[in-house]
Symmetry: C2
Subunit: 454 residues, 2 copies
């Protein structure tokens, strides 16, 4: 039977690793350029650190690690006889795999608060694990790439994250992304104006369908959800919410006059929008999107989401926001955090679709030395040593060919690995080199080969 | 209560991440320079892939992942009542965390054999997990850095690994390492000569104590283990096993005349030693060590181990060898593999001890803009945008200082993060810059600052 891997997990070939590293390195470079510092946390945490932080559904999706040794020994017989899996879990498992990077980060900040200089700009690029039902584009093991700042409530930080998204996507060649922005305070203001904060989710869900079902359809759905006609009337401008970000801000300001919090949200967003406009973006556009409500119960200020360039069918390729009490769950109160995340797997798929990986250097030798004559091998390996010292990836086919068939195998190896230069013989310092893309065969010295390749 | 992490795991600060990445990147660069290709495998494998591959002790040390959902439902009541942890494990856990990179690699090769061009030179740098008792320098989560070749029996490959060790350690500045080499065939030859292959481990263990307990002590121990005086006499040269590698090879050749396999081992080692001598090493030395027997039941040809430079107390910082039937466990017979591994954590400790991290660029901004006047902030952020476009890491302190105390906090931030250049004000294109190491304060244009920093 052919061996396999658990569902929802992946092997990555060297080409895939190279492409993924290209994305990671671009993100990392920009993170550091913007003053963010890397940290790393363990793959598994104490269960008590993770459980209860992601809701009931989240708790279920956390991978638990079985205790080592005779883990059943101390478990109560009756509990086992009941076969209550949930109750037994806490008796036989003390550790669990990381579910995201935010909760471990909050734990890190509290644990190391005396070593950290605040505001603390950290980034973290590590895998997370979720026992989700695997499906296209959703995996049980995947990387998150997060940048967060804790210990600052400055709106400049919110401006900076827009710049950071723009910088990374521009560097990746992913032009024409839309950075959507909203503010939780505006959503709270709308809730105040429509007179029911518990209806806010119904409201935004309905409003989000405007493109598809039109104003009449949206109003009908809102009425069905118990939002009054009078309340809907008050936020009527939202049904015709187009124009520039400035137009939208003016419209929101007029609409939210009754809500202090809502007006603060408008002021905050205006600061961010104005400063981003003054600074300019390289290839992204910033769009105020009042339907944006990701993780509503979590974010308290700015909310971000990034849409792929138009024409590419893909959900959001990034998102984030501000949470005013990030570390409170671990006992450190009133530390505000704001951060964004890059969706590696989706960015990968979009870049593949748009053919943006062509510039990526694949991890293969530039020069292959064939190995037909044992007597030449040492000279070849000496030449390879020099090539490598000049940072030219190179290798000799390790086994000497003792038959025609074996020689063919070596040529096939060169073709399969798409190697550019193949050296057939080395004699008295003269190399016979075949350029595999042109088919041209030349003789040259090692120095000449180095120049040719560089 | 202060939050913590599971025993045997670690948080890494940004300084530690930077130093670790310096080692990883040096290793990676050399791996690719030598023609090795990266692959990555999932953090967890099907238990059937891992169990039974590392012996009974290994099986116990593998971290098992609890099945999701109502995992007890289908487990037999009697089995639970028996509380036989080991038997229950296979019913409630299907997946397990990677224990090393070799078995997943073997699984990968067999699973993807039709996509792979052989010989396949792969490298893999990923964490592994072991439920070992944590102690100084031994962790439950740690990285392995492996390079292996499968599908070639060439001794050139064994030469290349010596070169690879030498290159990596030289590049890291870790000069004076000793690359110890042996060959399983020589050990088999010794077993043949002493007339008992089942005594080989006793024999090498005793011989390894030569430095400490002298010849008489070693002979005494061997006799106690049931090795005959006559047999010991036959391998007498091993008790005086010094001199050059060539001397040792000559001595072994004389001693192993009675064993065909032993003589083959001498011939193999001689080829490797001669070629390494012809090629030269940058900073390491190669030493034939006949007591080297790591993973005796595993390796079938070359055996490697690297010792840190003299004077540094540390176990081996790398090791490896050839295993003739790497993929047989997954049904693909007769594929030889040879590979080496770098011990990241020990290399890190040695480099720290020798002060070799001084050249590592820490992930911190080069330039910090203080934020004392809201009216200057936009100009500062514009300047920062230009600095970043010039690849100069920079940032503005995000919150504006509205008191003397808050200004002091910003200066303290600059000091704590060891920032080189601090910009206090920006007015009409003129920057006031303080060089934090000299204390010198100057006014200059942005272009002049860029030149200064670069």
């Amino acid at each position: 039977m052919k061996p396999g891997i658990p569902k929802g997990t992946r092997d990555f070939s060297s080409t895939e690793v190279a492409k993924r590293n290209y994305i990671f390195n671009t993100i990392k470079h920009s993170f550091e350029n913007f003053g963010f510092q890397p940290i790393e946390t363990p793959s598994f945490e104490n269960s008590s650190t993770l459980m209860g932080k992601y809701g009931e559904e989240g708790d279920r999706l956390i991978f638990k690690i079985l205790n080592s040794g005779d883990y059943l020994k101390k478990v109560d017989e009756n509990l086992l006889a009941d076969k209550d899996s949930q109750k037994v879990t806490s008796k036989i498992s003390e550790k669990a795999l990381r579910y995201d990077l935010t909760v471990p980060f909050a734990r890190y900040v509290v644990q190391h608060q005396n070593e950290i200089t605040f505001p603390f700009k950290r980034y973290q690029i590590q895998p997370v694990w979720r026992a989700d039902r695997p499906q296209k584009g959703r995996f049980r093991e995947f990387y998150q790439c997060d940048a967060d700042v804790v210990g600052s409530t400055s709106l400049w930080q919110e401006v900076e994250f827009v710049q950071l998204y723009d910088t990374v996507f521009s560097k990746l060649g992913l032009k024409g992304t839309t950075i959507k922005i909203n503010n939780r305070k505006i959503l709270s203001g709308i809730a105040e104006v429509i007179g029911a904060s518990d209806k806010l989710i119904d409201f935004t869900v309905a409003l989000d369908k405007l493109d598809k079902i039109g104003k009449d359809g949206v109003v009908k759905e809102m009425l069905e959800k118990g939002i009054s006609a009078e309340a809907i009337e008050k936020v009527d401008p939202l049904f015709n919410f187009s124009g520039s970000n400035q137009d939208k801000l003016a419209s929101l300001e007029a609409m939210l006059q009754g809500s202090e919090e809502g007006l603060q949200g408008v002021a905050d967003l205006r600061t961010v929008v104005n400063n981003v406009e003054s600074l300019g973006l390289d290839s992204a556009s910033l769009e105020l999107d009042v339907t944006l409500a990701r993780g509503l119960n979590y974010y308290t200020g700015a909310i971000y989401e990034v849409a792929a360039p138009e024409g590419v069918k893909m959900g959001s390729i990034g998102g984030g926001g501000r949470y005013d009490d990030l570390t409170g769950i671990f006992g450190l109160k009133d530390v505000s955090g704001v951060g964004i995340s890059f969706g590696l797997d989706r960015i990968y798929l979009v870049m593949e679709e748009l053919g943006l990986f062509e510039a990526v250097e694949l991890p293969k030798p530039k020069v292959l030395f064939l190995n037909f004559e044992e007597s030449e091998s040492l000279d070849k390996v000496k030449a390879i040593k020099t090539l490598r010292q000049n940072n030219i990836k190179s290798e000799m086919y390790p086994d000497v060919a003792s038959s025609n068939n074996q020689q063919k195998k070596q040529w096939k190896y060169a073709t399969n690995r798409e190697i550019e230069f193949v050296v057939t013989t080395v004699e008295n310092g003269t190399l016979v080199v075949k350029n595999m893309s042109t088919g041209e065969q030349t003789t040259c010295s090692l120095d000449e080969l180095i120049n040719k390749v560089q």
